[in-house]
Symmetry: C2
Subunit: 297 residues, 2 copies
C-alpha cells in the first residue's frame, strides 16, 4: 500500500494510471475509519476488479466545519487508519496537509493569512438548492466545504468512480448534483449505511459518546423503524408523523432532537404525505455530540 | 473536422482520446470568431503538435450575462465560425445547447423552470477575491458564470491545456486561480491580444460599432500607450495617472469611461504607484456597446 502526502504527487500518479488505462475507484474519508468506510473500500474493489486501483483519502477538511463545531477535537488516528486500510485491500492512501489543500489560508478561521489575501485560496463550489435544508440549514457553509473538497480530490485522484456512504444522505444527493451539473467524468456510487448490532449507524463521532449516551443513541434508528411501521399500510400526513416521532424520541432523555424531516429521496423536497419510498432524515445532539441518520420508509 | 453537439458525446470522445494518450489542447469561445480566437487555435496546435488534437468550443454562456446585458443580441454565425475553424486547423468543434449545459433551467432568466426547481441546474463555482474588482464590480455574477462554464467545458473536453486570450485579463487571472484552487489537471496558457492595424483589440463586440464609434474605439489602446509613456522613465502615483487618463479619454467624445484601473498583474490588487510592469485595464461604453482592453505598462 502506497501512502501519498503531496497533492502534486497524487495527481502525477493518477495521470500515470490514466495513461495506462487502469481503473480507479475512490473513497474520500475524514479518517478515523470504521466498518462503514471499509465497506466502501470493498464496494470500490468489487467494481474496479482486482486489476484496478482503490484509493482512499484521509483528510479532515476544515472548510466543512463551522466556527463552533468540532474541527479541533475531530478524532484522528492515522496509524490505526492505515492498518485498517491495508487489511481492507486499499492500494493508495492519500493524506494531504491543510497547507497543500488550501494554500495561503488560515484554515481554522477559513480566512487568508493576513499578508496573503490576494494569493490565498479563494474558489468554492456552491450547490444552491439541495444544500438549503436540513444539515445545510443548521450548518452554514458546510456543504460549500464538502463540494469544494470533493471536487479537489476528484481532480487529484482522477477516479472513474467514487463511493460514498448512504448515512450522509443529503451529502450524497449534493455530490451527485454537483457531479451532474459540472459534468465531472466520475460515477457516484452509494453504499448502504453500516450499523452496529443494536442498529446504531457507525460514525467516527460515536467515539465522543459515553456509555449511557451510546445506549440511548440507538433512538435515531428506532425513529426510522417507527416511521417505517407508521407508513407500512397507509400513507400519513408528514406533519402528524413528525410530531409523533418528536414525541417518540423523548424516550431517550439524553437526546435533543435537532430536526426530523421527511422528503423525496432525490430532490430532498419535503413531502406533505409520508408513504413507502419517502426518505426520512434526522439529527440529534447528545450533549455536544451531534449524530445523524436516515432511511427509506 | 468533427462537430459535436451533445455533452455526453463530447465527454465519451474525450475519454477515448485520454485512453489512447492523445494530447488535447482546448480553446473555449463564445463564437463569432475573429483573428484573436484563431491565434489561440494556432497556439494550441503549436503546443499539442500535429499528432495532438485541438478542440474549440462555441457556446454563448447565458450564466455570465447580466439581466440587462447583450445575451439576446450577442452575435452568432455558426456557419462562418465553422469555416474559420476548418481553415485554422481545428480538429473538433463542440457546440452544445443551453438545454445540454443547464438542464431544467430557464437560461434567459437564469432560474429553474417553474416545476423543476429541485432537479434544475444548481451548482456554481465562485471565485471570491479576484472577481470583486473591475468587471466583477460592474457585472455581478459575470465571473461566477465564467468559472462555472469553464469548469464544465474542462470536464467535457478533458484537455491537458486550455488557451485563453490576454484581452480578458481579469478572466484569465480568475480561471488560473480556479484551476489552481480546485486542482484541475489542466495547464492554462495565455496568448497575447490580437489588434487591428490601428491598435483596436479584436472583439466580437466590435461588430456592434458604427463607423464613427469604431474610429474612436482606438482610444482604449491609446490610453494604454499613454500610460506606458507616463511610466517609462519614472513611477507615478496611480491616482494621478488615472486622473490624467480619464481626462485623455475625453478626446474621444463617443466613449464613456466605465473604469480605468492599475494593479498587480497576478493578484489584481490595485497599486498606489504605477510603474513598468504594472497592469492597466479599462472598460468604456460606446452607446450601449461596452469594450474592454488592458496592457502591461
Amino acid at each position: 500500500m502506497q501512502i501519498v502526502r503531496a497533492a502534486a504527487a497524487m495527481q502525477r500518479l493518477a495521470r500515470q494510471w490514466q495513461r495506462r488505462g487502469w481503473r480507479v475507484g475512490f473513497v474520500p474519508t475524514m479518517g478515523c475509519l470504521h466498518e462503514g468506510h471499509l465497506s466502501l473500500v470493498r464496494e470500490a474493489r468489487r467494481r474496479v476488479g482486482r486489476a484496478g486501483l482503490v484509493v482512499l483519502s484521509i483528510y479532515v477538511n476544515p472548510t466543512q466545519f463551522g466556527p463552533n463545531e468540532d474541527l479541533s477535537r475531530y478524532p484522528r488516528d492515522l496509524a490505526h487508519d492505515l492498518k485498517l486500510c491495508r487489511e481492507a485491500g486499499t492500494d493508495v492512501v492519500f493524506t494531504p496537509s491543510d497547507a497543500e489543500m488550501y494554500p495561503g489560508n488560515d484554515v481554522t478561521a477559513n480566512e487568508p493569512v493576513s499578508d496573503d489575501a490576494r494569493t490565498a485560496f479563494s474558489t468554492y463550489i456552491v450547490e444552491e438548492r439541495l444544500s438549503q435544508c436540513m444539515e445545510g440549514a443548521v450548518r452554514p457553509n458546510h456543504f460549500r466545504g464538502v463540494t469544494t473538497v470533493v471536487a479537489k480530490l476528484f481532480h487529484l485522484v482522477l477516479p472513474e468512480m467514487a463511493v460514498f456512504g448512504a448515512k450522509d444522505w443529503q451529502q450524497v444527493a449534493i455530490v451527485k448534483r454537483m457531479t451532474r451539473d459540472l459534468n465531472f467524468p466520475v460515477k457516484i456510487i452509494v453504499a448502504p449505511t453500516v450499523r452496529a448490532p443494536n442498529g446504531l449507524a457507525l460514525s467516527s463521532r460515536n467515539q465522543y459518546l459515553d456509555p449511557a449516551q451510546r445506549t440511548q443513541a440507538v433512538i435515531l434508528h428506532r425513529v426510522i423503524q417507527r416511521a417505517r411501521a407508521a407508513v407500512r399500510r397507509k400513507s400519513v400526513p408528514a406533519a402528524w408523523l413528525k410530531a409523533e416521532l418528536t414525541k417518540f424520541i423523548a424516550a431517550a432523555p439524553l437526546a435533543r432532537l435537532d430536526y426530523v424531516e421527511v422528503f423525496d429521496p432525490e430532490t430532498l423536497k419535503p413531502v406533505s404525505t409520508a408513504k413507502r419510498g419517502t426518505q426520512l432524515a434526522l439529527a440529534a445532539f447528545f450533549d455536544t455530540t451531534r449524530l445523524i441518520d436516515n432511511g427509506r420508509l
